[in-house]
Amino acid sequence: MPRYAQYDSASPSPAPVTGWYDTDILAYPNLPPASDLIEVDASNWALHFNSPGGWTVEDGKLIPPEFA
């Protein structure tokens, strides 16, 4: 379940997603701080394989790119 997108919470909104994490299948010794992570649901996780780039976080929501 815990899948995350990483962004810089200090950046102006919308902040670009800079990393993707699946803690179910990989153990991360240095996970970013929780403030820089947003949980990704199953449908968005599947969608991000179409295009890992171009995603943003705006107002606490994960926004896919238009072309994803």
Partner: protein, 281 residues
């Protein structure tokens, strides 16, 4: 310490007088006497004078032939005495016999210094908590070794050193075999026990772009590469390279592209798509 032979209801008399040094005595009856006494064992006989009933001697019979006993005189704290014919001879329990049995202390729990003579026979265990004899264990393992139908259930592994059930393998080494995807491989040489390969294709770009990998490498990025994916637009040919600034991270990499017109006309204002691939663990 003597090993005792027991006989019930031995109750007879001396067939003749016995001196205090005689080592053989003959009884009046063989009733209830054992026919033999094993080597190293003794049959206890108590002698008692019929006249006063106040004198006693305990003798240990080491051998027997009919009613004649070979005896050790003055045993169990008694003294060898002279006896007359018809004095009493019987075989009651004695203190020496009882002491030889040993007894457990009131608080004994069968732990500590209790010792057992080898071998101690143990019945086959039939339930959890029973003692298991080695013969049973050996037979059980032999049966397992000789049968191809045995199925062992293994729980899901939680650490690198644990056995892994076959059913867990696909989930341990997942993949996303899509245009932007990854594959996690088992690798015993990796500090984590696995190796990850990732790949992707960019959209059409002009200049630089930062591309997050489909999944962040937990520990190390080993290698990163890229190549032009499609015909350029706005020019004749192009190049793409991995940017050193910012350097590739465990999560993403930045790529720079350039498009050129017909050589040697120089840079053109075009766009390009590219493939990338990354390896790590």
């Amino acid at each position: 310490m003597s090993t005792f032979v027991f006989a019930n209801n031995v109750n007879t008399t001396l067939a003749g007088a016995v001196s205090n040094s005689a080592t053989s005595i003959t009884l009046s009856s063989t009733a209830n006497l054992p026919s033999s006494i094993p080597a190293g064992s003794v049959l206890v006989i108590t002698l008692n004078d019929v006249a006063t009933r106040q004198n006693f001697e305990i003798v240990y019979a080491t051998a027997i032939t009919g009613a004649t006993l070979t005896v050790l005189r003055g045993q169990d704290g008694t003294s060898a005495l002279a006896w007359l014919a018809n004095d009493l001879a019987f075989s009651p329990p004695t203190a020496g016999q009882m002491l030889a049995m040993g007894q457990l202390s009131a608080a004994n729990t069968w732990t500590g210094a209790n010792t057992f003579n080898d071998p101690v026979a143990v019945a086959n265990a039939t339930a959890t908590g029973h003692a298991l004899n080695l013969g049973q264990a050996e037979a059980d393992f032999a049966a397992l070794n000789g049968s191809s139908s045995q199925v062992f259930n293994v729980s899901q592994a939680l650490a690198n050193t644990e056995a892994i059930p076959l059913g867990q393998l696909p989930s341990q080494f997942p993949s996303s075999l899509t245009q932007n995807g990854y594959k996690k491989y088992p690798d015993s040489n990796s500090p984590t026990g696995y190796f990850i390969e990732q790949w992707g294709v960019s959209g059409t770009i002009s200049g630089g772009v930062t591309v997050p990998y489909p999944i962040t490498f937990p520990n190390n990025l080993l290698n990163l590469g890229c190549s032009v994916a499609a015909a350029t637009s706005g020019g004749s040919w192009g190049v793409v390279e991995v940017s050193g600034t910012p350097a590739p991270s465990l999560s993403n990499a930045t790529f720079w592209s350039a498009v050129f017109g017909t050589a040697p006309s120089g840079a053109a204002n075009g766009s390009i798509a590219f493939y990338w691939h990354a390896k790590g663990y």
